[in-house]
């Protein structure tokens, strides 16, 4: 029981970090938040691993820490340093509106999750709600912000949401698949960073 409560705390912290991300224009802070969010995801997976005593989930915890908490934020910081950008200025809607919007998306995903439960299957509905909300808010970040970095953060948020969903309705994907997915994610971040640098250079010259 107490373990479930702690796991729920981690999940709530994920949602809080995403909403904080919406409310702040600072990119460095956004990357830190992403790292924090991934750490919370990893802890949630760890709780599951301890509870079910599954080697699969321990492995999942380890690779989440390595890729999402350490490697990806590290390379994003490195790119950010080279690009010398600190603030998101190009937004289609202002921050207050975006926060209200994020709140309503959370409500919407709660409704959707309730509806799915009504069809007869019950699973970690709370976690599923949060993961759906994270997914939608990540998509909103991608749509409403123009800077390339914010789009990457939005993409990573969507990805975290899918991992959360995978860990809520099942006990995580098979380790081999998860490793492949994370490796692809990591390489795509490297390529996107490379593209940011090149686009920057082209604009400057």
């Amino acid at each position: 029981m107490i373990m479930e409560k702690i796991a729920e705390l981690f999940i709530i912290l994920i949602l809080v970090s995403v909403v904080l991300n919406v409310s702040s224009p600072f990119i460095k802070f956004a990357i830190k938040l992403y790292s924090f969010q991934s750490l919370m995801l990893a802890f949630y997976i760890l709780m599951g691993a301890v509870h079910f005593n599954s080697i699969n989930l321990y492995g999942s915890f380890a690779i989440t820490i390595i890729f999402k908490v350490i490697l990806i934020p590290y390379f994003l910081f490195k790119t950010l340093k080279k690009v010398k950008m600190d603030k998101e200025i190009n937004m289609y809607i202002g921050i207050p509106e975006a926060v209200v919007f994020a709140g309503s998306l959370t409500l919407l995903s709660n409704l959707i999750a309730q509806k799915i439960i009504k069809t007869g299957i019950t699973f970690g509905s709370f976690v599923f709600t949060i993961s759906l909300a994270t997914f939608l808010i990540g998509a909103m970040l991608m749509i409403t912000r123009k800077t390339l970095f914010s789009q990457i953060i939005g993409f990573l948020t969507i990805d975290n949401a899918i991992f959360l969903a995978a860990n809520s309705i099942t006990h995580g994907m098979p380790l081999l698949v998860e490793l492949g997915v994370l490796f692809d994610l990591f390489v795509s971040i490297l390529i996107l960073s490379l593209l940011i640098l090149n686009l920057r250079r082209n604009v400057a010259s």
């Binding site: 991608m142 993409f155 997915v181 490796f183 795509s188 686009l199 082209n202």
Partner: protein, 507 residues
Amino acid sequence: MHHKLLDLILILPAAALLFSIFTDVLWMSYLQLAVSVLVFLTVGAIAVSFNSITVFLGGFFFVDYINLVILITVSTLELFVAFYSFGYVRSEIAGGVSKRKFKFYYFWKNLFIFSMMVSILSNNLGIYWTGLEATTLATALLVSFNRTKESFEATWKYVIMCSVGIAIGLFAIVILYFTTSQVYGESMRSLSFINIMQAGAKLDKNFLMLSFILALVGFGTKVGFAPMHNWLPDAHSQGPSPVSALLSGVLLNTALLGILRFYQINGAAGIYYPKYFLICFGFLTIFVSAFSIIKQTDYKRLFAFSSMENMGIIALGFGIGGIAVIGSLLQIFFHALNKGLLFLSSGNVLAATHERRIDKIRNLSKNFPITGIVLLFGAMGISGMPPFAMFLGEIYIMTGVFRNDIWLGFLVFILLILVFIGLFGKVLKMYVGKANASDEEEDGELKTGSTGASHKTVIEAGLHPFIVYVPLIMLLFSSFLLFYIPYPFLHIIKSAAAEFGGRLIFK
């Protein structure tokens, strides 16, 4: 059939990938020829002796009739592209591009082919996903090969949109995994396609439906279905021409294979309404691309939109079912061939003139006698005109559509005529149009003073013979296939269609 033969399909591109790191570019182009011919022969041997679903490499990979069709398509187009690349590399290096850059070209191209093979042959949906995302990443740096601002922007759009799309596809796989894990428990078996098909009706229908819709939207982004398509024309027009040919011809089909797998799973579980989603997306895609083709001013973008239109037709055919499925399967192969030759021959024009706009290219009949003819007849072929093979695929699909719903048939038919007018009209202008009038206007307006350059006649004699004649051979091959389709290939198509419930009426 030998299992070693099947392993070879994955081993050969991997070997080429390793060679490309250590070998000099010009040597690599010979090696690439050898590898591509070997892959083609291996796939041919498999196709001839194939008789039932075969699992290999520890159950992670398998061959059935459907992925065999796509495998044949990939290996055939790859063969032509390897020969074209042989000439392309030489003419570009003669034109002043550094050798080091082309080393990367072969490296990324082989990585692309390898991950595409992994994705096509995978039995496990998780591995399919990994391979598909890897193709996006491998082609990213090929699309931005020219290192211009436009190409970097196109690559950005391509990577970010496809990655998000494929992430939604991952969501679909997660939900499918949840559904199947109630039958098989949580293990690799729950993701194995063959096992999922066997579970069939035991699976939860609501969740299967949900996973199909997510897969359609997610992988559909990479196929280029209509509302999610706007990365496609940019990415396909910016890369080097051989890469454009591979992207349009086979990568779109690889992504479509994912949707088809989910479609099959739904069919096995007895859910039949996904087909309306396929029809709807297919029609919308044809509609959007037909109007985009008409107002297009860039010829590589024109052909990119035409790929979109053909993917729409193929999806429509799979949705309609019956005889149209045979048309769609034929179309997958014929479209790859025909679109390949269009991109390759337009690449010749681009390489010699460095001009992308349709109204700047005139009088191809004089300056590019062979390439011009290939472009003209290729444009005819791609819109389904008789002396070329795509006529066959399109006639099957249209027959199916007309039988299903006559009004939908009329609408699609009108859209296809629009596409034909747009494509053929524009290419015809490039072929016979007179250059003088428009050039004088341009000079009068802009006063750039570079009149000498624009009046210089560019002839294809300076190009490497391979890049001139490979598209021509592809055109002849495409025409030949209309009159004679080898029996083993026809058998594979029929059997693949049977898995979707399609029937062949005659022969």
